[in-house]
């Protein structure tokens, strides 16, 4: 894992989030949620700072981050792709869709493309089982996706950029 140095501003943001939860160990999950919302992901250095602020071991923080699939430790791409692997999507071919996305982008689940454009994750059920199999790109939902459509979906985003909303580390 490459080492990163957090900017002073990032340090402040994390400290503020921790303080807003009274630096309480019991609020760890809320602190992590809020921090990921602000920073986009939870690299080791961020977890260390949170552990320090909440006066708990960094091993415990890491334990929670790795337990919940919602938290991630690598930066999300500009367009985060999520493939639903819930039961309905799975039986209607989500795995083939996932395979096709991995092949097209040449990345594994949990990784980002080198240009930072796409990241790939699996999730469990977005509550749109009637549309199975479902793929999400950012907030946009694609239903009844077939492997042949993957190229077209990716192409939609290939040229465009969105304004970076996440705070830079």
């Amino acid at each position: 894992m490459p080492k990163i140095k957090l900017s002073q501003r990032t340090n402040e943001i994390i400290r503020e989030i921790c303080a807003s939860f009274d630096n309480s160990e019991g609020e760890l999950i809320n602190v992590l949620h809020e921090t990921q919302h602000k920073l986009g992901y939870l690299p080791a250095e961020v977890q260390e700072l949170i552990a320090n602020e909440l006066n708990m071991s960094v091993a415990k923080v890491y334990g929670v981050v790795t337990f919940y699939s919602f938290f991630n430790m690598i930066p999300q791409g500009e367009f985060p792709i999520s493939v639903c692997m819930g039961t309905a999507c799975y039986v209607r071919g989500a795995e083939q869709i996932l395979h096709e996305i991995k092949r097209q982008l040449n990345i594994e689940v949990g990784q980002s493309t080198p240009d930072g454009k796409f990241s790939l994750n699996c999730l469990r059920c977005v509550g749109a089982c009637g549309l199975a199999p479902v793929v999400m790109v950012g907030e946009k939902v694609y239903g009844r996706v077939a492997p042949q459509q993957v190229r077209k979906i990716i192409a939609e985003y290939q040229e465009s950029t969105v304004k970076q909303e996440k705070h830079e580390m």
Partner: protein, 585 residues
């Protein structure tokens, strides 16, 4: 008393409210098998995650089987511990654990001492009906501990010890499902974590997932090298536990047989760390008196309380967690390292051997001692003062390899000059012992009077935090004692907050002190064993002709011939050390 009546296996039993089914059954001689559950009675240590489900029992009127370790007995409860259904479930659980467990039992470091192996045997498992994916975690080696996580059964005993008992926080459960395992943060090596190498994780691991680094091979090589003079020192707590490895009752003292075994193994000189413990008292005791005298003289800068510094895991603990307090512990090296420094200077000169050709081996109840002797400050031009530290368990292994029938060995003595010790040196092996030894000497030096009694029973016991006030001829000296690093943390936080009233504090990392060290024969959750070892050391002390460190004639001689006086420049150079800030802040 609020009593609960229930029946277990058709037998009535009456228990106090809050008693678990497991404990209730034990009261009437029914031993429900358990794996992850562990309780060290009177030490306030309990692991009860209810995770393995080996202890499941059938409870009338309840749909699911109940884990006996974390189900409270209830009025009128009807429990069946060996119904077909319970036995089947229990065996299924163990088979499932075994289906993702390496089957290299014949060559596993834990063979014969593995709780999982015993459980499979106990349940008569002859076939594993499940086949599937196998864990493939990487092996992690550190200076003291090896983690072989394919053998981890997620009982979480190590995590409980590391967090709740020791408050170290090096280990945590990480990931989920099949990938869940116990690990340092970011799956980093233990070596890069805040681990103190106290070895309490090793002491409680039911399988071979956590073991000590094996140095027996290196010691055998040294012993068979004709160009080397190989000497050995053995820590106090070893003599109270080694016998267990050869079938003796816990608490059997095997001091004489231990010396005999070491001699038969081929060590050129068989010495005793107790000698170095006496030396530690002279140095540390003098340092304490110097600080006290300065304090009484009005010196506001003097650091009090003074903390003991014999325990390497404790040293690493405060270097990581309380670096701001690193000037408070005594600068005295541990007995192991004092021994090494004296052996490779004073003794090497005496026998005319170059330090490079002198190999110092120590037998320790501890795994952190392996790390301690590898610390750079304890070497001269890359040559360590102590070359290898073996655990009590490793020594038993060596004795077996050398075809020695331990039980039939005669009692022999240690060699001179580094083998002579007092009762004060012996009790270093138990919680409260170092400070009692220090009081025996400090009192007489400070007051100039002979002690009317030698046994300071107020300093003894098994409570995690203890305190006592000793009257130094009109001057009350307040003493604190902590064993287990979580207890130590409480005393340190008081010091940080300026609330500590103590003049001196003894801290040992392991519950019970060194008798409960991570390198001792496995206690398998039986705290009685630790208490028996403790009593054995006090018996050894009581039977010694000399019981105060400053009366050890060979210590007197060492100062006359070589060191000058305690805290002299030479003593400072060889017997004292400094500490480092290991926090990342």
């Amino acid at each position: 008393m609020n009593m609960i009546n229930l029946t277990i296996d058709n037998r009535p039993v009456s228990v106090e409210r809050g008693t678990t089914v497991l404990q209730a059954a034990a009261q009437i001689g029914i031993k429900i098998p358990s794996l992850c559950y562990m309780k060290l009675e009177d030490l306030n240590i309990e692991n009860k995650p209810g995770g393995c489900r080996v202890c499941v029992v059938e409870v009338e009127g309840r749909r699911n089987l109940a884990p006996a370790c974390c189900t409270d007995a209830a009025e009128g409860m009807v429990v069946l511990t060996h119904s077909m259904r319970a036995i089947h479930a229990r065996r299924t659980v163990v088979e499932l654990i075994l289906s993702d467990h390496p089957t290299d039992c014949l060559k596993c470091a834990k063979a014969g001492n593995c709780d999982l192996q015993s459980m499979a045997q106990h349940l008569g498992i002859r076939e594993i009906h499940y086949e599937g994916e196998q864990s493939t975690f990487r092996e992690d080696t550190s200076p003291a501990i090896i983690r072989e996580l394919d053998k981890c059964i997620r009982c979480r005993r190590c995590e409980m010890m590391c967090n709740e008992v020791q408050s170290v926080g090096a280990l945590s459960a990480i990931n989920r499902g099949f990938n869940a395992v116990i690990s340092p943060a970011f799956e980093m090596n233990l070596d890069h974590s805040v681990c103190t190498y106290c070895g309490q994780c090793v002491a409680v691991c039911p399988t071979g997932a956590l073991t000590e680094v094996d140095h027996t091979g290196a010691v055998i090589r040294a012993l068979s090298n004709p160009d080397k003079t190989v000497i050995v020192q053995t820590a106090p707590a070893v003599r109270a536990a080694l016998g267990e490895e050869f079938g003796a009752e816990p608490g059997t003292l095997v001091t004489g047989k231990l010396a005999a075994a070491l001699r038969r193994l081929g060590f050129n000189y068989v010495f005793d760390t107790d000698f170095a413990a006496d030396l530690t008292i002279l140095e540390e005791g003098t340092e304490l008196l110097n600080r006290l005298t300065a304090f009484l003289g009005g010196d506001k800068e003097v650091k009090l309380p003074m903390l003991t510094s014999c325990c390497p895991a404790w040293v690493k603990f405060f270097e990581h967690q309380f670096p701001d307090l690193k000037d408070i512990p005594s600068s005295a090296r541990s007995p192991q390292q004092m021994f090494g420094a004296i052996a490779k200077s004073y003794f090497a000169d005496k026998i005319g051997v170059n330090r490079k050709d002198l190999v110092v081996v120590s037998i320790m109840p501890c795994v952190a001692k392996k790390y301690e002797c590898s610390r750079e400050e304890f070497s001269v031009n890359g040559n360590p003062d102590v070359d290898f530290a073996l655990t009590t368990r490793e020594l038993a292994q060596l004795i077996n390899l050398a075809n020695i029938d331990f039980k039939s060995l005669p009692d022999e003595d240690f060699d001179h000059p580094l083998g002579e010790s007092t009762g004060a040196g012996v009790i270093f092996g138990t919680t409260g012992g170092v400070i009692e030894a220090a009081v025996r000497t400090a009192y007489e030096v400070f007051t100039g009077k002979k002690l009317s009694r030698i046994d300071f029973t107020e300093l003894r016991g098994m409570e995690g935090l203890r305190h006592a006030t000793i009257d130094f001829d009109g001057l009350p000296i307040h003493i604190g004692i902590a064993h287990g690093l979580g207890n130590a943390r409480k005393l340190l936080e008081d010091i940080q907050a300026g609330k500590s009233q103590f003049h001196a504090i003894e801290i040992m990392s392991c519950p019970g002190g060194c008798i409960g060290g991570g390198g001792q024969p496995y206690h398998h959750g039986n705290a009685e064993i630790l208490k028996k070892r403790q009593m054995a050391l006090y018996r050894e002390d009581a039977g010694k002709p000399i019981r105060k460190s400053h009366e050890n004639p060979y210590i007197t001689k060492l100062y006359e011939e070589f060191l000058g006086s305690p805290m002299s420049e030479k003593a400072h150079h060889l017997l004292h050390t400094e500490y480092f800030d290991r926090s990342k802040k």
